[in-house]
Every structure is written in C-alpha cells, then in structure tokens.
Amino acid sequence: MSSAAAATLPTRRTFTAPLAAGTKRAAAVVCVLAALVGLYELYHWVWVSTGWTHPFVVDDTTMPHIWVILHALWQPAQVNQPALGTILFHKSLFTAKEAAVGFGLGAVIGFAIGVVLVHSRLLTRGFLPYIVASQTIPILAIAPMVVIWVNPKLPAGVQGWGSVAVIAAYLTFFPVAINTLRGLQSADPRALELMRTYAASRWTVLWKLRVPTSLPYVFAALKIAATASVVGAIIGELPSGLQDGLGGAILNFNQYYSIEPQELWATNIVAALLGIIFFVGVVAAEKAIVRRAPETVE
C-alpha cells in the first residue's frame, strides 16, 4: 500500500488534465445524445414513410417528435396552470425527497447489516439467503400493503411520502448490504493478522482496516442504490395515490396518452434525468471520499 505516494499524486496534478478530459467526455456525451435523437427521428421517419408496422405502429402518438416533447415542457399541461416543465420540476423535487430519504435509510441499514454479518458466519448463513430472496419479491405488488401498513404509524409530517421512502429504502438496502459484506471480507488477511498481533480491538479493526477496504465496494453498491431509490420512489407512488410526485404524474399522463403523448414522454425524460442526477451525485461523493483508496475495484 503506497499510501504516501497515492496521497501526494493528486495534489501534484495540474487542473488542466482533468478539465480537458471532462470537456472530451462532455463532447462524447453530446455526440451520443445527438446520435440517439437522430436515430429516434430516423426510425420515426423510415417507419412512417414506408408504412411498416413491425414491431409496432409508428405515428406521432406512439413516437412523438423530440421537439414536440421538449416544446411540451414550456407549455401548460392544463389551461391556467404553470408550464409543464415547472410542474414536473416540483414533482421531481418531491420524488427526489422520497428517494433521498429512502436512499439514506436503506444505505445505513444495508451497511449495518453488512457490518453485523461480517462478524458472524452463523448469522451470514442464517440470513443471507433471505436477503437475496427478498429481492425477487416484486416490490410494486407489495407497495399498496406497505403504504396501508406503514402510513398510520408515521408521524403526521411524513405521512404519505414517508411510506414511499420506506419502499425506496427496501430497494436500496440490498445492494449495499451485499457489497458491504463483500468489501469488509476483502480486507487483506495479513493486515488482519498484523492488527491482531497488536491486540487491536474488533472496533479498531473494523474502522481502521475493514471499513476503508470496503469503501470502493460500498460505493459501487451506492451507485446501484441511487438508481434503485429513484425507481422505488416512483413505483411506490403508483399505488399510494400520491399526486405530488413523478409516479403520480406518470399514472395521470398515461391516461391522456392518446391525446397528449408528449406529456408522458416529457415526464419520463424528467424521471430519467432525476435518476442520472442521483447517480452522478454518488459518483461525485465517491471521487471526493475514495480518492486515496489504493486499489480501486474495477
């Protein structure tokens, strides 16, 4: 572990190199986005002009033009209402709140489960199969029950969105628990033995050795969990009847799809952005915290 070298390296680096890399990456992203939009419109044009109906009928309802979708964001969805973009912005803030609380809750619980399980093979054997099996349960099917069950037990301030956060937490805890366990187990046995010869307590071994080793694993899981929490928040809103978030908006615009398809598309694009923002947030946190991890998990 050349931690000294690793620590001095980033400071020596000038800022221009990452900046140039960033510009390059941004350019690549713009190019690919443009290519995707082009492909979408090309597909639309080819299928409409040739009249192909496979695998599905293409028209302005099934695949609205990109500019129509973007334009819809500046148009009010209903008369005498703010622009759809403004409404969706507030709805995505609401969903982001649910997802963030669920993410935090799930990450803490998942990490705690990982820490407990790494200290007991018996508990690992006893509980891990069920932690794995819990993910095969289609959460959307349980969501109505969770909402009915959890909601009355919550304080008045968080009723409604609190139960959605619980669903988001349910989707979040699993990858974090599994990867924390793997990360904590991946501590170098020689380092473990060295710690033991110095009579280090379990607590010291955990915080000085196991947790730092596990961080790259934990962040890998947090990246998945970031998306999962947004998915959980959107899915959780569907059966809860909440109208303040993106899930409610999706249900709502789904009903008007045949008249105004661009509104559902616009909502989905906002949902996609929200997922990507959460993901990028975790990546940024990882860059800030795991800067000194000597061996990153590839």
């Binding site: 990456r25 690549a28 992203v29 190019c31 690919v32 695998p55 599905f56 309802t61 099934t62 018996l122 690992t124 054997r125 006893g126 509980f127 891990l128 199969p129 069920y130 794995v132 099996a133 993910q135 095969t136 349960i137 289609p138 959307l140 099917a141 349980i142 109505p144 029950m145 009915i148 069950w149 599994i178 990867n179 694993y217 890998a220 990246k223 998945i224 998306t227 998915v231 959107i234 899915i235 569907l238 059966p239 993106l246 899930g247 789904n254 799809y257 398809p261 559902l264 909502t267 989905n268 949902a271 996609a272 929200l274 997922g275 990507i276 959460f278 993901f279 990028v280 998990v297 590839e298």
Partner: protein, 272 residues
C-alpha cells in the same frame, strides 16, 4: 467499478450449494423462527387480517386458488422469460459488437453506465402504448429493456478484462483474432456475463409484474395481485406475491445452475 451489477450471492455460496446440509441449517432455523414469530405476532398483537395475513393462510390460499394463481403466474413468467432471453441476447450481441471497436466502446461505456441510472420502469406505460397493453409483447419489451443494459455493460467489461499477457501469448502463436476471442475473451467474460444474467433474471420478473400494473391481460399475475389488493383481499394478493417470488427465484436458480455447468474452469470466478 464492479458495481453496476451486484452479485446476489455471498462468497462461496454457489460452491456451497451442493455441500452439506449443515451449511443450510442456520437458514432453515431462521426460516422456522421467522414464520413462528410472524404467526405469533399476529395472534399476540391482534394484527388485522387484511394488513398482514398469517403465513399459513397465505400458503393455504396459494393452494386453494391454485387454478387461478399458477396459470396467472405462468403467463407472467413467460413474459419475463421472453424478455429475459431477448434482452440478454441483445445485450451480449451489442457488447460483442462494441467490444470489437475500442474507441467506440470507450465512448459508449460512460453513457451506457449513465443510461443504467434511468428508471426504465417509468417507461412501462409507453411500451404498453406501443404494443397492445393486453398482449404479452408489451411486458416482454419492458423486461427485455430492463435486462439489456446490465448484461451489455457486464459483457463488455468481461470481454475487455482478458489478461493482456494471455492475448499477447496467443498473438505470438499467430492465433487469429477470432481464435483469441473464442479461446481467451469469451472464457474470461463468461463469469461477468453470468453475474449480469443473475441480476437480469430478477429484473425480468419484476419488469413483467410492474408492466402489468399499467394494464394487462386478466390472465396475468400482476393484474391479479393489483385487483385483489384493491378489493382488500390481501391474503390472495400475498399468495400472488409468493407465486411471483417463487417463479423469480426459479429463474434465478436456473441461471445459477447454468453457470455451474458452463463456468467449470473458473472456480474462483463463481465467488465474485
């Protein structure tokens, strides 16, 4: 970033599967205790039946309504399986294609990873509009799209993770690039692919059930669970969830079994 895909399995769990039942004893004890606690809590705290039915009632309902539940489960399972196969094959094909061109792969990788962060389930209503909501094709499409990205990202990562020394050795023997692909890259990639397939198998079932939430045939499990929950028949709804979970676990187990058959040469890879 091993992380786009998390394996659902602890180190060594796959290997242990066939070993002594002693390994599974703690899990069985936990299972028995959990069921007992569940039943006991309902009796002790008088939890209302509609909130959380007794496990025995759920299993009973699962058996009594087997003529509606299991055909519905099978219907949804076929959607999930179709989507799983289509999405995974497309993901592997796309990764193979992209892996041929290094710069393309380098440019697409960050975008594929970002695209993985999109809550694709939110697009389920659009798929229902594209394909007839009542046809299984719309759910198959959702499941396929859900499976595509993790499989593609992991396959690409697997193909790129071949040891340079092995590739150079093959080159020094004048092996063609197809031979290198066949003998080095694919064997190295397979454990990665199977990790993704395990994740995809779970996603496929969830995608199919969620897709049905936005409308689907009355023969489908997701529609059945939703309609039963709406009329507060939670025992049947939970029985439906049990069926969905069992089918999801079955698909997952099938992938694990395939992995054990196929990836014989890389015992350490099974753990990762």
């Amino acid at each position: 970033m091993s992380g786009i895909v998390v394996t659902g399995i602890s180190p060594g769990m796959g290997r242990r599967l066939g070993q002594q039942a002693r390994e599974w004893l703690p899990a069985l004890v936990v299972f028995a205790l959990a069921i007992a606690a569940w039943e006991g809590a309902i009796a002790a705290f008088h939890i209302q039946q509609f909130l959380l039915p007794k496990p025995s009632d759920i299993v009973k309902s699962c058996w009594e309504q087997r003529h509606t539940l299991w055909p519905a489960g099978w219907y949804t399972f076929k959607e999930a399986l179709g989507g799983f196969v289509i999405g995974s094959l497309a993901g592997m094909a796309a990764a193979t294609l992209i892996g041929r061109f290094k710069t393309l792969g380098a440019a697409l990788m960050p975008i594929a990873i970002a695209a993985n962060a999109i809550p694709i389930i939110a697009f389920a209503p659009i798929f229902n509009q594209w394909f007839d909501p009542l046809s299984p094709n719309s759910k198959m499409a959702i499941a396929a799209v859900l499976c595509f990205l993790p499989v593609m990202v992991n396959t690409l990562r697997g193909l790129q993770s071949a040891s340079p020394r092995q590739v150079e050795l093959m080159r020094s023997y004048a092996a063609s690039s197809f031979t290198i692909w066949r003998r080095v890259r694919v064997p190295t990639a397979l454990p990665y692919v199977f990790t993704a397939l395990k994740v995809a198998s779970v996603l496929a079932m969830i995608g199919a059930v969620v897709g049905e939430y936005f409308g689907g045939s009355y023969d489908a499990l997701g529609v059945l669970i939703r309609s039963k929950a709406q009329i507060l028949d939670f025992t049947t709804a939970w029985a439906g969830i049990l069926v969905a979970s069992l089918l999801g676990i079955a698909l997952y187990a099938a992938v694990v079994a395939c992995e054990r058959l196929v990836v014989r040469w890389a015992p350490e890879a099974r753990d990762s």
